[in-house]
């Protein structure tokens, strides 16, 4: 039906694609640690030793955990399995709220304490008008 060259070119493209997909897959698999933007408190617990360099921890801001003192903000990041206490001084984004996602950038003091130098609010995928949110909460 098709010429020999056409079949060969098809095979050529097919092999290139397969090879590239496999290569990229393997590279990404081995680089996973660097690809992720933040680590969860559970990941921190699993660390064998504490990093000296800057890292990011992310999760939910635990309910009723935010406390503000004179020049320090203290809250708990939880991933519903493990928790980490974060201290931070500075401005937080508007969307920083209890029971919402957050990413803290900074340094680990130990496995339970984190000194943040920057706070980012993580937005979730839920979009709805305020009235719908209220109706949902009433339920």
């Amino acid at each position: 039906m098709y010429g020999r060259k056409v079949k060969l070119r098809f095979l050529f493209i097919f092999i290139i694609l397969t090879t590239l997909i496999l290569t990229v897959f393997l590279i990404l698999k081995s680089l996973e640690e660097n690809v992720i933007y933040f680590q969860s408190p559970t990941d921190i617990k699993k660390l064998s030793d504490i990093y000296k360099k800057k890292i990011r921890v992310g999760g939910m801001v635990k309910k009723n955990s935010v406390s503000i003192s004179a020049n320090e903000l203290k809250f708990i990041i939880s991933d519903f399995k493990n928790e980490i206490i974060v201290t931070y001084s500075g401005a937080v984004p508007n969307l920083f709220e209890e029971e919402k996602g957050v990413v803290a950038e900074g340094y680990l003091k130990d496995k339970n304490f984190f000194l943040a130098t920057k706070i980012l609010a993580k937005h979730d995928e839920n979009y709805m008008p305020p009235e719908v949110k209220e109706a949902l909460e009433e339920k």
Partner: protein
Amino acid sequence: MFKIFEPNKIFKITSKAPKYVIFLFVVILTVGLSEALIFSPEDYKQSHAVRIMYVHVPAAWISLSIFSLITVLSIIGYIFKHQNFFLISKSLAPSGFVFNIIALVTGAIWGKPTWGTWWAWDARITSMLILALFYALYLITWRLYEDKEKVMKITTFITILGIINVPIIKFSVDWWNTLHQPASINILSKNVIHSSMLMPLIIMTAAFALFSLLIFLMKYNTELIKIKNKGLDRL
């Protein structure tokens, strides 16, 4: 197999099409923008910042679709050695590139008030930047090489390299921890975006798609005219 591609016949249709497309585009864009900016509700959490999404998400969708389309066309064109597929790809690429940049810029504008940062090197955003670089490479290649055989081979290769990035962009938010939120619109599971916000999103996507079609037709007509003027270069 592809005898239907005769430049004169195609040109008859494509030279008339733009005026209809532009009319449709203006109508749908007007409806879409008024839905997105005026009639749609504000979000419970991010309030009016949600309106950036009505440009950001359609732009990202269109740029991903166009790149996928370019890849498929280039591969078919390469296998069957048919120039027309390359001309279609070449004409599609600029709007894909522009929408890619729009997605990145609106993302940054949205990121500042919500996340608290313009830019984050997370998997979704970085892979989207890589797509923009592939678009740039693709477009530069067309300008760089005169030899048709050469340019077809190189652009096909670039699209094949770039297409691997497309599923990475799509699934990056599911595979890894990213600052970017996962998809709100899912085919298999439930949508987590309210219908009053989904509506303007779909209309804006249609408007952007029409705009891409319009730019495509203009570019494609230019290519056809070039071929007609040369007289030698048959499709």
